[in-house]
């Protein structure tokens, strides 16, 4: 018995000694100077300034960490990041596009690391919306923390609508009637512009979700469900926007020649009554439209035979830790700071107008009615009170996106039918899945 006690005492003493050693080691590790290299896409001067401020907040709390930040244009990042990482160079943390064509390629090549361990440590899965985390989960592992989540829907310039005695359409039939009426009155119904072509992705996402429903779309995009893009529902979805609405005069003349900026300018100027695009435009609308308080944001109209009206959501970009990083723990701590509800509410949301998929006190955020409505919708979805549809392109393979880009342009020019496009989309999906 005595020897057991002695052994126990020895063990306890040993454990205490080890623990005593461990504490200074951990403290020492925390005090070791660490430089985190971060590549993000916040190149806009205003956004860049805000991000500097946010990153500085982290380094103030962690004085041993310095952050070397490089802001790189999205296009340029897509071209350089893979090469940098595969050559063993590059940053510790990246803010990069989610989806199989971007972060998916990096994950497959083990250039970014799974973060499930850190997610458990910091409680990320409780903090961030599950649907958003799905967008950065690859083969069951969480790779990224989605910062940028947007809603896609329809902006309505109520000033223009009220002036003409029009109501925002809630069904496709109403939309087609409205387009004819507005065109005859000399108002462009929808500020849709499709040069260079990615804008059509979002229009298709809206009509496809309205037709097959959010659950079915989630199954296809996130749960590996069998996709059938060549179904009658999808043909109807394509026909609705790219044929029926085109023929009803819903878009500006020569929409394929107009750039996204041209479309935005038409809406800002009040030349167009509606604008079918995403919540990322709110900041610009607030800056460019005098009567921004007259703008509302609603889901795209329902289509006959479909499942109803859904807001569309999708992950834009997320923070990832690279496999080359010598400081993954510090990188994870840095990312956790970025998603702190206070940082999210005060910085990202209120100052940056970013829609972040984190539950926070929305009432504390100073926001225009337009932005508040978007925040409200997203917060409701986080609480399970609103069902959102899913943006297709961020989760689709590249051949599918390529087919959307070229095929919808061909349709707008009258060179392709909805049936042909649906069949081509299915082929492209299968090609991308190989």
């Amino acid at each position: 018995m005595k020897s057991t006690w002695v052994h126990g005492l020895h063990l306890a003493t040993g454990a205490l000694l080890l623990a005593g050693m461990a504490v200074p080691m951990a403290a020492g590790a925390q005090d070791d100077p660490v430089e985190l290299v971060v590549w993000d896409q916040f190149t806009d001067p205003e956004a860049s300034g805000l991000v500097d401020e946010i990153y500085a907040g982290f380094t103030e709390k962690n004085p041993n960490v310095t952050i070397k930040r490089e802001a790189v244009e999205n296009d340029q990042l897509r071209q350089t990041l893979r090469t940098a990482l595969s050559s063993g160079e590059g940053p510790d943390v990246i803010f990069y596009d989610a989806g199989p064509g971007y972060a998916g390629v990096l994950a497959e090549s083990d250039l970014i690391i799974p973060m499930d361990e850190y997610a458990a440590e910091y409680g990320w899965k409780e903090k961030v919306a599950g649907t958003a985390l799905q967008g950065t989960t690859i083969d069951g592992k969480l790779y990224g923390m989605p910062l940028q989540v947007d809603l896609i829907g329809m902006y309505v310039n109520t000033a223009v609508m009220e002036e003409n005695g029009w109501a925002a359409p809630t069904t496709l039939a109403e939309m087609l009637t409205f387009c004819k009426t507005a065109s005859e009155a000399g108002v462009i119904p929808i500020a849709f512009a499709d040069n260079p072509g990615w804008q059509a992705f979002h229009q298709f996402s809206m009509t496809a979700n309205q037709m097959i429903g959010a659950d079915a779309m989630q199954e296809i995009l996130y749960n590996g469900g069998a996709a059938n893009w060549n179904s009658p529902e999808i043909v109807t979805a394509i026909q609705a926007y790219f044929v029926d609405m085109r023929d009803a005069g819903c878009f500006p003349e020569d929409a394929v020649a107009l750039t996204y900026d041209d479309g935005n300018a038409l809406f800002y100027a009040g030349d167009a009554a509606l604008h079918t695009t995403g919540s990322w435009m709110i900041g610009d609308m607030e800056a460019n439209m005098e009567a921004v308080d007259k703008v509302t944001f609603v889901p795209f109209p329902a289509i006959d035979g479909g499942k109803g009206q859904y807001w569309i959501t999708g992950v834009g970009s997320a923070y990832y830790v690279t496999a080359n990083s010598e400081h993954p723990a510090e990188s994870a701590a840095f990312i956790d700071y970025l998603f702190d509800p206070a940082v999210v509410a005060d910085k990202w949301v209120e100052q940056g107008r970013y829609v972040v998929p984190v539950e926070f006190e929305a009432a504390s955020v100073e926001a225009s009615p337009l932005f508040a409505s978007v925040l409200d919708t997203l917060q409701k979805s986080l609480k399970g009170e609103a069902e959102l549809g899913f943006n297709v392109d961020v989760m689709a393979p590249q051949p599918f996106n390529d087919m959307m880009l070229n095929g919808f342009q061909a349709m707008l020019n009258g060179d392709k039918t909805a049936e042909e496009q649906a069949a081509d989309l299915q082929t492209a999906w299968e090609e991308g899945a190989k």
């Binding site: 090469t83 250039l111 020569d254 394929v256 020649a257 020019n413």
Partner: protein, 294 residues
């Protein structure tokens, strides 16, 4: 050590820095491109699986490759002939240094010093269907039926971008040809005049042969540029609508960086390089043969 070797050695030492840079930044990437073109590399994975000539076999069966090549041929033909003709015409007009020569020369050359992105943006504004000066001008002179969304019309998008490119190139061609004209012997021209040659005959039989070398260089540059055109198309149409302005360079970029098919992109870029070199070589050989016959 002979004097000759010492001279060689000194030359080699002076050449070494340039040679090292050339090997590093030209030869090395070129060899790597050849290797990539024989793999299915996606630009990220550590493994580059050797697939032999599969990329090349796929390329020759790829309809978009042939479509892009056709666009390049249109670009090369029109984009070489028109700047040469207009550049030569302007150079002829300016040869006698008329009043305002310096201003004209500056104005003609100015577009060439602009960045391609700037040229793309300027011309995208000109073509803009809402506020573009081209459509407004056509409408003003009663040609409303002609005005259109130039960059969104599959029949016109490529030509519209080509016009912007030629606008920028003509100044460059003009300046080079004007410099070349300074070497044309006025005595020969006077002799031809005395022999009764008219203006066209003097141009064809004296000026052109005298400028053969300059014309060769300019034409070769235009041909090579025509095969590798990328920036203006990328800025103005992105290769659209529906690939209507896709060229080999934009298609290569799309495959390598958007579709994550670096191996296939490398194969495309090598084919593009070979086409440019072969075309230029054939042209120069034909010119030289023409000179010999003459």
């Amino acid at each position: 050590m002979t004097a000759s070797w010492r001279r060689w050695r000194a030359g080699l030492i002076f050449l070494l820095p340039s040679l090292a840079l050339y090997l590093c930044f030209v030869v090395n990437p070129f060899i790597q491109s050849i290797w990539f073109s024989l793999t299915d590399w996606d630009g990220a994975s550590k493994v580059k699986e050797f697939i032999g000539l599969a990329n090349y076999r796929e390329l020759f069966a790829d309809g978009l490759f042939w479509q892009a090549l056709r666009h390049n041929l249109v670009w090369v033909l029109i984009g070489t002939a028109v700047p040469l003709m207009i550049g030569m015409l302007l150079a002829q007009l300016m040869w006698s240094k008329p009043r305002g020569f310096t201003i004209y020369r500056t104005v003609f050359f100015l577009p060439h010093i602009l960045l391609s992105t700037v040229i793309g943006i300027i011309w995208a504004w000109i073509y803009n269907p809402i506020f573009g000066i081209l459509n407004k001008g056509l409408d003003a002179v009663g040609l409303k039926d002609v005005s259109r969304g130039w960059l969104g019309d599959p029949d016109w998008a490529l030509l519209a971008v080509l016009v912007a490119a030629m606008w920028a190139t003509i100044g460059f061609v003009f300046v080079i040809l004007l410099a070349g004209l300074q070497n044309v012997s006025r005595d020969l021209l006077e002799a031809a005049t005395i022999d009764g040659a008219n203006g066209w005959q003097r141009f064809r039989d004296v000026t052109i042969p005298e400028m053969a070398n300059v014309l060769n260089v300019v034409t070769a540059l235009l041909l090579i540029g025509g095969f590798s055109v990328f920036d203006l198309i990328y800025v103005m149409t992105g290769g659209g609508p529906n690939n209507a302005s896709q060229t080999l360079a934009t298609y290569t970029f799309e495959q390598a960086f958007a579709q994550n098919r670096v191996g296939y992109g490398a194969a495309l870029s090598l084919v593009m390089t070979v086409l440019a070199l072969v075309t230029s070589f054939i042209f120069i050989r034909l010119r030289e043969r023409g000179e010999e016959v003459r």
